[in-house]
Point group: C2
Chain length 309, copies 2
Amino acid sequence: MFATHGGAGVIERDNLSEEQDAAIRAALSHALGTGSAVLAEGGTSIDAVEATIRELEDDPHFNAGRGAVFTYEGNIEHDASIMDGATRAAGAVTGTTTVRHPVSLARRVMENSPHVFLRGLGAEQFATEQGVARVENSWFETDFRRRALEEMRAREAEGQSAYDVDLKYGTVGAVALDTHGNVAAATSTGGLTGKRWGRIGDSPIIGAGTYADNRGCAVSATGAGEYFIRVGVAHEICAQIRMAAQEVSVSDPAAIPSDADIQQIANGVINEMAALGGSGGVIVTTPWGHTVYSFDTVADSSTKELRSP
Amino acid sequence: MFATHGGAGVIERDNLSEEQDAAIRAALSHALGTGSAVLAEGGTSIDAVEATIRELEDDPHFNAGRGAVFTYEGNIEHDASIMDGATRAAGAVTGTTTVRHPVSLARRVMENSPHVFLRGLGAEQFATEQGVARVENSWFETDFRRRALEEMRAREAEGQSAYDVDLKYGTVGAVALDTHGNVAAATSTGGLTGKRWGRIGDSPIIGAGTYADNRGCAVSATGAGEYFIRVGVAHEICAQIRMAAQEVSVSDPAAIPSDADIQQIANGVINEMAALGGSGGVIVTTPWGHTVYSFDTVADSSTKELRSP
């Protein structure tokens, strides 16, 4: 069971040429196949989500790795996180600038450091000690995202809200359930176009943009990160599913929540986030085989979410 | 209703001279009075927690502001967060080095930026734009914490676990309920002695070390941050209390959870964190007037927690 998303907001079809649209569909579909193949060979959910995110980080169509958005100062700074539902081990990084695969550095933090979350130059130093693949910051640049920064600055110069409307998202995420019954989640992003002051969004925050717990589910989120942090979207969904699973198992220990239960929980938390003023969505997979998504933005499932059994 | 804590771990009485012990009790008691006075005058819970934390940040006895621990490289880097339960607005900073009151910068992030969480040099730049009080990094230094770094390095040189045993904590936190019925929480820390690679702990993470929601409670945590992040301690406690309150109100809309219910929820989540291998605790206050604390470490309530009606 595997699902991946390519973000919310940027990938509204009106903003895409047919060519772009086809390329994004193909890229998400290929990355879905990569993760699914790991699972089909008996691999772990954590390996599957990492493999899929690595592929999307290299693809310039997404706001992660190569193709990530520019900061206000014209740099590219990445955020990523990963979590293993079997152990609730987690790793995350924010503000890396030369790490080709931020999701893999997050996994190194999880496995090879006593910490969960590293930032900036310290995370870069850890990357050097771990020997992960590095590139120049310019390797991540795309003309498309450069124009988005220029447009953002133009809006700001005209006194409009700088973080308005589209071209903001494109965060990538994946959730998986493996044949061992373990779930995992990972998320990777460049954040918001024109972000400044070292802004950290929800993607690298365990509990906000990413969470995994075998007692509940695995979640990866995308959207207006500040609202996802305030609601604790990923953790809230996992907690509610965990409690729902406990509740239905009281009379019959083998009983599990229904698809409708899981969908209702995900929709409820997304609605709560939207009620605060945010937008975006999540993909969710449970240890019992449910996979659902819930987005409050324009629902074009072909570009936003893909799943495989 | 107001409660404050001065951390877990460092303040075990065996490690303290009588003089230190008395000074810490007096400082916590004075800071408690500061927050309580804000509330008594009809002030807001967010003002009360900020005022208390500012005072403790200036006090060299605590691992926050002046008196914070040293990083592995011998610098001092602060983390802080604040959250308003009425609106679930939140602000947080990590890795600031010249901001005298990190909790107040976190509040500026909450009120004067579109973001929730800022890091490092970007947060410092935001501090400049906001005109908050600044000091040299050396102003935060204390001999006590310098020795702790040397001891940590000595342990490491002997092949022992670098982050072992005491002298680690001393994080400060506060939770409040004001006369308007709103709860708020704030937490401030220097993190772990000898932290490296830009490590971010739970204190600045909304949902891990700090959370506030008028439908549930306000929480401030202290302890082995990595475990608090993985469990989502502050958010989990608030979610469980929110659901317990919904449940008891089904038959009688005016019914509220009992003190025992709130204590059981806090203890349950702290036990879950400890079961993963962590240690530490929380202070909790609810909109219905409950105030509880739950620590899995040596319970010396006089130095770890103080409350006022």
